[in-house]
Symmetry: C2
Amino acid sequence: MLFFTQCFGAVLDLIHLRFQHYKAKRVFSAAGQLVCVVNPTHSLKYAPTRCAAAQASTEQGILPPCHHHEAVHDPQLVPCTCPLFSCPWEGHLEVVVSHLRQTHRINILQGAEIVFLATDMHLPAPTDWIIMHSCLGHQFLLVLRKQEKYEGHPQFFATMMLIGTPTQANNFTYRLELNRNQRRLKWEATPRSILECVDSVISDGDCLVLNTSLAQLFSDNGSLAIGIVITTSKVHSSEAEM
Amino acid sequence: MLFFTQCFGAVLDLIHLRFQHYKAKRVFSAAGQLVCVVNPTHSLKYAPTRCAAAQASTEQGILPPCHHHEAVHDPQLVPCTCPLFSCPWEGHLEVVVSHLRQTHRINILQGAEIVFLATDMHLPAPTDWIIMHSCLGHQFLLVLRKQEKYEGHPQFFATMMLIGTPTQANNFTYRLELNRNQRRLKWEATPRSILECVDSVISDGDCLVLNTSLAQLFSDNGSLAIGIVITTSKVHSSEAEM
């Protein structure tokens, strides 16, 4: 009996995912973009955030920002960059992707243009939606976070980080686009390096910021579709283009 | 002596305006857009807002939304739509523009693409930057407002209203664009009719919303340049275009 109940549950889940995928495809199919359904993860850290702890240590002259370990002897070693957990792992930049995939089970998608479909936007803060995105020979980490910067007023923050150095990150431009209900919101910026802390990018507000009412206007049945495009930024002539 | 002091003050003001205009032109000159320097106005209303008062009256079945007058006998008469003052004026839609120009001294600019340069962004909330924009045979009202939705955390809200009916407003699309420091933020939507209340559009958050840190990233020496484009929206195929 339990087996049948579980089977039925699994079938229902599949139908639900299929339906969400179909809905997203309906919206974005014109561009032939890859749609990826991303489920939320209730964050297990945040008190205090790794960055706050790291920053405090930095002020005391102990560690460079965002290195929350006791001592980093090898400057080429980086701590785990997963924004979800306070993970003690550290390793070289080249193996961060495999660590995130294997230990934290973060999916990786291929393609220059994808659609990130975050489900269950109604879940209480703090919640994260995370995916890795592989294109132009590099891997990027997309983080959508629901967080209460002002108590009782949750906001959504979306940013893209390059799993690479800040110098490498300067070669790219990412664009996040929301499009629904005759409204369109686009955020375009240079990705930050994963060596900088995602928490501080979000607390600085240097990312796409949505209040709850705007997020509701852009979401469809509790899911928010974010179109993502990554390009190489040869010469940053954007200020003159406008 | 007083005369000379005043003359000197006027010359300094002119130099300051000229400098701001020059700076804005430097950024936007590539597109040959018209730059308009808009000075802030400290709002004299807000407690309670006209909309809140009107909404309360509506709930009691007295008046239609945003009509704060005692009784509107002629349904073609609209109240003054100036977001700055609780003005007792009312008249036909066709004369709203001349009322706003003459009584409230709101400037009007011509052209499909203009740059709205809001100065003195550091001034405390509530503050408004307002201009009228004439293009495609219609007049629009652009409102940038600094307001504290959450106490101690001022935010900037920008929206465009058509000085016309909601049906007329549906024929247009407006775009607000911020572009600086290798970041770009675009908001695109159908303008709301001036018959709807600008206060409620802003309190619903159905507009371009900027927190203080983002506003600082986009502003240059205390001035925020917003590029404005208005187009006619024939068929709203934006959702498929993405």
